[in-house]
């Protein structure tokens, strides 16, 4: 049974996607229940898989019984297990958030909303498990299509943002496909492990170099790495809160994971660092992205837009870790994937909850909310401190490893970038914390009658906040057991 786990996760999610689609026609509420059930199932399978991998090593599943490299395979190793945990765990908690504030949809409209969400999660899990280059493309596009649909829910602005996102992301996906073509024609195989063993023979051929460039560029477009990030602010600001959380906390991270996977298991580090300075370019682009994302975030007046630019900066931290291409750097990058997933989800849920309860979307409107929504704002404070990087939150530990990695590589510029961005993040987050806890009467008339968020909204928010602290405390366990072995190849 255990051997089927790798395939069961995405397949079950997709199956339930259809199921909830049908249910959604009848009543949105039922479909939410099924969606929660499906993601809980996926999460438990992911945990089971993780336990197995920790004890017994990598698990491989071949589709249709065709052995690799002829057949398509799913690989569950420590890295994929880690990503699966992040995807299904975050997804599960996000799905618990009530529909109306989360998706800005009337419950009765019968839109197959949760079906698409499950499809998204299934696609993401497929990406994490893929052991085959083309299979990854298929799941990547499944994911992207779901996100195009989800982002467009809501106002007209969301529609246009989704369109522009569609155009740019499709370019990205197509570049990836082109790159895969080059690699295939140079090595004759699509299986990642196979490519890795065959590649050294053809390192310097233009086809392989071209292929690598196309693949990485395509994925960086989806990852919103500076300067390919321009689709992100609009898409994340205008999308409904839970969708924005899925995008910022999960989809972007998984794209970063693809780059890491390419680095570790397809184009070996010798290639990406030695032959072609791809990781250097990624690293420097990321450094620029960190600063620009943080600076732009300071300039924003709308809360969600501020979070969107913050995401540009945060995913660039992951890019920085990738760019360092040493064990500590990649460890930091992976840990940040998990930390950011938790922090950003919490923040977007808070944005959604507050907007729903009080109609406040601008930063100025948050004045004085600390008194009226103490629990929510406590969670906000925890997430904000984590984003800045104050110990003992999870956000601090990922920065710590990135710092150690930068020092290891002798790159003081990166050190300065990481530390400077900490200060920049502090500016826009503490500005908000100050507003929230300022005792002045809130200016908004409706805010005066504000009460705390309902428990249904509050529970996911608090769960994320607690997880931020817990992950911080157990970060060493995660690093020792999952991440360090995963980056052995460096």
């Amino acid at each position: 049974m255990i051997h089927n786990v790798p395939v069961l996760i995405p397949i079950s999610l997709i199956f339930f996607a259809f199921f909830t689609g049908i249910l959604g026609v009848m009543r949105l509420r039922y479909s939410q229940l099924v969606a929660v059930f499906a993601s809980a199932l996926a999460f438990s399978l992911a945990v089971w898989g993780m336990v197995y991998v920790l004890n017994s090593g990598t698990l491989s599943y071949s589709f249709g019984g065709w052995p690799p490299p002829i057949g398509i395979e799913f690989i569950l190793d420590r890295l994929s297990a880690f990503m699966l945990l992040v995807i299904t765990g975050t997804g599960l908690i996000l799905l618990l958030f009530p529909t109306k504030p989360g998706f800005k949809i009337e419950e009765k409209r019968g839109v197959p909303l949760y079906a698409i969400v499950l499809l998204l999660m299934g696609g993401l899990c497929g990406i994490a498990l893929a052991g085959d280059l083309f299979n990854l493309y298929v799941f990547l596009e499944i994911t992207s299509l779901s996100t195009y649909a989800l982002v467009s829910i809501g106002s007209g602005k969301a529609g246009m943002s989704s369109f522009r996102y569609l155009v740019m992301a499709s370019i990205g996906g197509s570049f990836y496909l082109l790159g895969v073509g080059f690699i295939y024609f140079a090595t004759g195989t699509l299986n990642m492990a196979d490519v890795m063993s065959l590649l050294p023979a053809v390192y310097s051929s233009p086809a392989v170099i071209g292929g690598a460039i196309f693949i990485v560029t395509g994925i960086c477009l989806k990852m919103a790495l500076f300067p390919l990030h321009t689709w992100l602010p609009d898409a994340h600001s205008y999308a409904p809160p839970v969708v924005a959380a899925f995008l910022a906390a999960v989809q972007i991270e998984v794209s970063a994971y693809i780059v890491i996977r390419m680095l570790l298991n397809v184009f070996t580090p010798e290639f990406m660092v030695g032959q072609l300075p791809l990781t250097d370019i990624i690293g420097w682009a990321a450094a620029a992205g960190i600063i620009i994302g943080s600076v732009m975030a300071i300039a924003q007046k709308d809360f969600k837009r501020m979070l969107a630019y913050s995401t540009v900066g945060q995913i660039a931290y992951v890019g920085l870790g990738i760019g360092l291409a040493n064990p500590l750097g990649i460890t930091g990058a992976l840990l940040h994937i998990m930390a950011h997933a938790l922090m950003k989800s919490c923040l977007f849920l808070i944005a959604g909850g507050v907007a729903h309860q009080t109609g406040i979307t601008g930063i100025d409107g948050y004045r004085g909310l600390g008194r009226r929504m103490p629990w929510t704002m406590a969670a906000f404070t925890v997430s904000a401190l984590a984003m800045i990087g104050i110990p003992p939150t999870a956000g601090f530990f990922s920065k710590w490893y990135l710092l150690l990695g930068s020092l290891d590589a002798g790159n003081w510029v990166f050190v300065v970038v990481i530390l400077a961005s900490t200060l920049l993040n502090a500016v826009y987050f503490f500005r908000l914390i100050e507003k929230v806890f300022a005792p002045a009467e809130p200016n908004d008339a409706s805010a005066r009658d504000t009460k705390e968020l309902s428990p249904r909204m509050l529970v996911p928010i608090l769960v994320f906040a607690v997880l931020i602290l817990v992950v911080g405390a157990i970060s060493v366990l995660i690093v020792n057991n999952l991440l360090t072995p995963a980056v052995q190849g460096l």
Binding site: L385, L419, L423, S475, V476
Partner: protein
């Protein structure tokens, strides 16, 4: 680590006030019960810290390591002499301040008292955590928690002024934290460990440039909280906070945490011998010396009593920094003792300032004519503390100053001996006029005031009494002299 003894006590000392927070929040609508929780926690903390004294004096260091923070680096607590000095200071004064705060907050009708007492408890947890940290990462964790936990206290009043001061406070301290993080990460790279060891952990193979970088990072990183010039301006601005906050936190906990950081960085990470070898220590001495002089001069210009006390603090903190920069056991003993002595004396002064504000509603020195007649006990205590800060026996300040001067002479740095003596004169110069005004000038007609309330007066007298006691018998009660000397010996004579 040598001589470590497994014990839950250090952890208990840190956690007792954290646990208290829960109860403080629970009892937010029952002020007497809530205040009782604070007092109980403070008394408990003091008892636990005190119980650690005999073991440390004996040369055994209670320690406990919790989970791992990073591969090879744990969340580790270890009580040694230097840490115990700081912890004793914080716990003794928390108890005293808690009593005082109750009087102050009720006397001036401050709002948000639950938030106040809860944040205070968190700050004290962080402070004890800082005192007992066994490695730089644990230290950093508690250090940053302290920054965050003190923010609600600085901005307590909620006025635009308070918020502005809070922003400045955060800007300075978080910048310091960031610089410090760089230093810590680099230390890990150079030394391979973050543990504190007397005499330093830097291997002999480290080059000058690496040392110089580390030294600068630590000096700047800790310099913010230690209010070394020019990184000091957050301190006078932070005086906008209620006086108990200024008293305990900005005369004792936060600033002493910064200085204590320098104790650890110079004494237990970099090593004073190494620093002296490469001439880096001189930079620290010069910076400290300049701060002492400039701060004292600026103190003269302040009419607001708390502002004058703030600049005085800045000066005295650099006494300690100066002591740490000397490669001399006497200098270190003096510096470590001054951590405690200055804390006790300064808190007395701040308490008096607060009492004057609450009882007579006065904040400026020019208004204090004749107040000694109405508040004789308060001003009496003020006088005792002022005498001590000027370095005049028999108050405690004389003892630490004596050792500091001896340290400078040992190192043949006569310039700094002169600076210290001059500063004593300056201290007298800006404190004694206040005493003179209070007792020897006739009061203005608008001065209607009685003595301070008992809740405030008792802590004032206790603090003043302690300063006097430590001046006569430096080893009284808390064995300050023993601890300081022992720590200094280890640091100076320790294995590099």
């Amino acid at each position: 680590m040598e001589n470590s003894l497994f014990s839950y006590l250090p952890l208990a000392a840190v956690l007792i006030s954290a646990v208290a927070i829960v109860f403080i929040l629970l009892f937010r609508n029952r002020p007497n019960l809530r205040e009782a929780v604070t007092l109980a926690a403070a008394a408990g903390k003091l008892a636990i810290v005190f119980s650690l004294l005999p073991q440390v004096l004996d040369g055994k260091y209670p320690a406990i390591t919790l989970f791992s923070l990073s591969p090879g680096i744990g969340l580790a607590l270890r009580v040694d002499e230097a840490g115990l000095i700081f912890a004793l200071l914080a716990s003794v004064l928390w108890l005293v301040t808690s009593v005082y705060s109750i009087g102050y907050m009720r006397g001036s009708g401050e709002k948000h008292q639950t938030r106040f007492f809860a944040s205070f408890a968190l700050c004290l947890s962080a402070t004890i955590g800082i005192a007992f940290s066994a490695n730089l990462l644990t230290f950093y964790l508690f250090y940053e928690i302290l920054t965050v936990a003190t923010y609600p206290l600085v901005t307590h009043k909620g006025t635009p002024e308070a918020l502005k001061a809070g922003r400045k406070y955060l800007a300075y301290l978080i910048t310091g934290g960031v610089v410090l993080l760089a230093g810590i990460a680099y230390t890990y790279q150079v030394a391979g460990t973050l543990d504190f060891k007397p005499g330093g952990v830097i291997p002999d193979t480290a080059g000058v440039s690496q040392l110089a970088v580390l030294f600068s990072l630590f000096l700047i990183g800790f310099g913010f909280k230690s209010a070394v010039m020019p990184l000091h301006s957050w301190l006078p601005s932070a005086m906008v906070a209620p006086t108990p906050v200024s008293a305990l936190l900005h005369a004792v906990a936060v600033v002493k945490a910064g200085v204590f950081g320098l104790v650890r960085a110079v004494g237990f990470v970099l090593g004073p011998e190494t620093l002296a070898q490469f001439g880096l220590a001189g930079i620290m001495s010069v910076v400290a010396g300049l701060t002492i002089v400039v701060a004292s001069l600026l103190a003269f210009r302040q009419d607001n009593l708390k502002a004058r006390l703030a600049y005085s603090t800045i000066g005295h903190l650099s006494y300690i920094v100066l002591g740490l920069s000397l490669f001399s056991a006497a200098g270190w003993t003096g510096g470590l003792m001054h951590i405690f002595n200055h804390g006790v004396m300064k808190i007395t002064l701040f308490f008096c300032a607060g009492a004057i504000y609450v009882t007579a509603h006065l904040q400026n020195i020019s208004q204090l004519d004749g107040i000694g007649r109405r508040m004789p006990w308060t001003m009496g205590a003020f006088t005792v503390a002022a005498v001590g800060l000027a370095g005049i026996p028999p108050v405690a300040g004389f003892i630490s100053k004596w050792h500091l001067v001896a340290g400078t002479l040992q190192n043949q740095q006569f310039v700094f001996a002169v600076v210290l003596l001059l500063s004593g004169l300056f201290n007298a110069g800006y404190f004694f006029p206040i005493v003179y005004r209070a007792f020897f000038k006739p009061p203005a007609e608008s001065l209607h005031s009685g003595e301070a309330s008992r809740l405030m007066l008792v802590p004032i007298l206790v603090a003043a009494g302690l300063s006097l006691l430590l001046g006569i018998y430096p080893d009284a009660l808390v064995h300050l002299y023993n601890l300081a000397e022992s720590a200094a010996q280890q640091v100076i004579g320790g294995i590099g």
